[in-house]
């Protein structure tokens, strides 16, 4: 349907995968603004490259994540993000109340601190380790799917995942998580 440039089909496809792809990019890049732009780029590429997808026996989810991963990798390899990428939108303004009234300040604060700690820990991982954590843990892709996407042997991916978890454990230990 998307191959036939059907707008309704495209919207259905987008709705089905938008959250997954967006969160994948947010966690990979650590920046919501970049993730928003790359999400658009990913689906634009899907629109134009729909004819390249193997409709007979291809895994659409894997194909979609491969596109998103390639776009995110390319973006992150650019010089401007090479040093540091901190989510500016996450820093509260000095006059802005840190917690909405609806939620208990302590719980909200704790959640924000945890999120920031995980974000910073992921940021400190090398791109390959971060990639496998995000694809495996957050996006729940199978190792087989990730292996096909990244053209890396499953054993290598699992070794990377073990290493990533060990590094995350060391990084998150001060938070007593």
């Amino acid at each position: 349907m998307v191959l036939e440039k059907n707008l309704r089909a495209f919207r259905i496809l987008y709705t089905r995968h938008e959250t997954g792809i967006y969160n994948f990019i947010v966690r990979y890049t650590g920046n919501k603004q970049i993730a928003q732009d790359l999400l658009q780029e990913t689906f634009t590429r899907v629109w134009f490259a729909a004819h390249l997808f193997d409709h007979a026996g291809g895994n659409f989810r894997g194909w979609l994540y491969t596109i998103a991963l390639n776009i995110a990798r390319s973006e992150m390899s650019k010089k401007r993000y090479a040093y540091h990428y901190f989510e500016i939108s996450e820093i509260p303004h000095k006059d802005e109340p840190r917690h909405p009234r609806s939620e208990a300040p302590d719980a909200q604060s704790e959640q924000a601190d945890l999120k920031e700690a995980i974000m910073r820990a992921l940021e400190k991982l090398s791109p390959l380790l971060r990639e496998i954590v995000v694809l495996k843990h957050y996006q729940q892709l199978k190792f087989k799917e990730i292996a096909a996407m990244t053209r890396t042997p499953e054993g290598t991916l699992k070794a990377r995942f073990h290493r990533a978890l060990a590094e995350l454990k060391t990084l998150l230990e001060p938070m007593e998580l």
Binding site: L7, R27, K32, Q40, F143, F161, L172
Partner: protein, 163 residues
Amino acid sequence: MPHENKDALLSLFYGEASPPEEQHLRQHLAGCADCREYMQFLQRMNLTLNRWPEARPLADTCDCILANIPPARPRARSVRAPLSAWPIFNIAFAMIFMLLLIYFAQSQISLLPVWRSLARYWIIQALGSFGFVALVFFGIGTFITLSLAPILYFDLNKRTLHS
């Protein structure tokens, strides 16, 4: 008891192990404290990482994507240019003109004294005055074309190079 490969434990934790493999690993876990500890570590890390909640993209993202996609252009249909009648008229006109020219020329050539001496040859007798004049015109046309061909060829190349 030898410890299981961590990769196998990872497959078990994420539900990617085959049923016989899973059964074997569960039996192993029941008796191996180290492997159980590794599974607990995976569980703890899973819970920790899940504390980063999912976010949602902006609501109008799909509209933005579609707005930036250029509208599909209708497929270009191969349209054949209608045949022009002009070349046919031109050729017909040129042929009629040449035939008239040869006709008038052959009536003139037969009056020339040189014609009598030429008429002795069998080829001229076979061609007749009309055929002879037509052959002469054909020879002149070929000569002019071949003389001009190099000039036209080099001139065309020069134009192509300058453009």
